[in-house]
Amino acid sequence: RPPPQRPRVLLKAPTLAEMEEMNISEEEESP
């Protein structure tokens, strides 16, 4: 029997709007 699967860790995600804001600020910072 295969070993029982350990529970997967829930990855918290930003909202779509938050992702876009992070992306805009990253683009502004990069040369």
Binding site: R8, L10, L11, A13, P14, L16, M19
Partner: protein, 394 residues
């Protein structure tokens, strides 16, 4: 001499290994610079989505949450970027809507959640994510898919709009029905559409082009149905709104023309196996307006028949059509004020909006029913034309 022994399909685990530093190149080559009409036309439907998911699987396998997050964020931002750049190109938007949905379905199919595993083979179950639960990222992708869908509707609307009034109302699909103009003057006969005039055929050909492209991109059939329903709603609403504002569109012969055009649209739905899409039902207000142009409009019995028949038209719309109705010849009378008053009295208890025109910009809410794939990930290979040689098939 070294011998190159190819690995058997069963040895592959359905993942693509990549270095963190290659993530930018991955997004660039697979998303930002991929042309739907270029190399992508020969790809299996949804291939970009499968490749991205197989990379994600590897990051998950390494138990590297930063790598997983980074790939998901870059993917989502990459798709948004290309849609901002080429968001008025139907093929681009359709391609990325199909791939975003496929990516979302992969995240569900291989999530390890029982509800999404019912149709998986044993092999597919082995490919479920091992370490991370990405339910919150699925929500983000779902929100992205909704945005892309709305963008697709706008692009298709902008292409269809110039064709609708000309094709549905102005051009006479059945030649010779209108022997005279509503003004009483005889029309000159013409067997060819004027140059630059859109006909019903233009609309049907455009709908076919849309449908063919969406199918080639592997768009979910249930999603295609929703898109078609939305397009038919737009055609019906724009046609009806125009009719409600133009006296020259409110005649018996125009009613005949509209009914014929609607029957051709229905025939198109039948031909594409889309009769269950709900598209035909969106044309009901237009169909009833066309019928109203053709029925008798004199007696109390006629008024009762009209009130029963026009359940998809508001009182304001019925009254407008009756007021605009123009007889084709001097023997027919206009609709009497008494008749219109009778209709208004019969319908006074209806609870409805006093608005005359339909909202042609209304977009129906969209859903993305789960659509698992029968493809097994270990069989997927990347064509060299995608310039992704830095990915290692694992």
């Amino acid at each position: 001499r070294p011998v190159n022994i190819p690995r058997k399909e069963k040895d592959f685990q359905g993942m693509f290994e990549y270095k963190k530093d290659d993530e930018v190149k991955l997004v660039k080559n697979l998303i930002l610079e991929l042309k739907p009409r270029g190399v992508a036309v020969n790809l299996i439907p949804g291939l970009p989505a499968y490749i991205l998911f197989m990379c994600l699987r590897h990051a998950d396998y390494l138990n590297d949450d930063q790598k997983v997050r980074s790939l998901l964020t870059s993917t989502i931002n990459g798709i948004k970027k290309i849609l901002k750049k080429r968001g008025d190109d139907f093929e681009t938007v359709s391609f990325w809507l199909s791939n975003t949905c496929r990516f979302l379905h992969c995240l569900k199919q291989y999530s390890g959640e029982e509800g999404f595993m019912k149709h998986n083979t044993t092999r597919q179950n082995e490919h479920c994510l091992t370490n991370f639960d990405l339910a919150e990222y699925r929500q983000v992708l779902s929100d992205l898919a909704i945005q892309i869908y709305q963008q697709l509707v706008k692009v298709m609307d902008s292409i269809l709009q110039p064709m609708i009034v000309s094709g549905m109302l102005e051009h006479e699909t059945i030649q010779g029905v209108s022997g005279v103009k509503p003004t009483g003057l005889r029309k000159r006969t013409s067997s060819i559409a004027d140059e630059g005039t859109y006909t019903l055929d233009s609309i049907l050909r455009q709908l076919s082009a849309f449908h063919s492209t969406m199918c080639q991109h592997g768009m979910d059939p249930e999603l295609i149905k929703q898109v078609v329903k939305q397009m038919f709603y737009i055609i019906g609403a724009v046609t009806l709104n125009n009719l409600l504002l133009r006296k020259d569109m409110c005649s018996w012969s125009k009613g005949m023309n509209i009914r014929y055009n609607v029957s051709q649209l229905e025939e198109w739905l039948r031909d594409k196996n889309l009769m269950t899409s709900g598209a035909k039902e969106t044309l009901e207000p237009l169909i009833q307006a066309a019928q109203l142009l053709q029925v008798k409009k004199k007696t109390d019995e006629d008024a009762e028949a009209i009130c029963s028949m026009c359940n998809a038209l508001s009182t304001a719309q019925i009254v407008k059509v009756l007021n605009l109705y123009t007889p084709v010849n001097e023997f027919e009378e206009r609709v009497s004020v008494t008749f219109i008053r009778t209709i208004q009295i019969r319908l006074r208890d209806r609870k409805e909006s006093p608005q005359l025109l339909m909202d042609s910009k209304q977009i129906f809410p969209v859903t993305f029913p789960f659509n698992p794939s029968s493809l097994s990930l270990e069989t997927i290979q990347i064509p060299t034309s995608l310039n992704l040689g830095f990915l290692t098939r694992v």
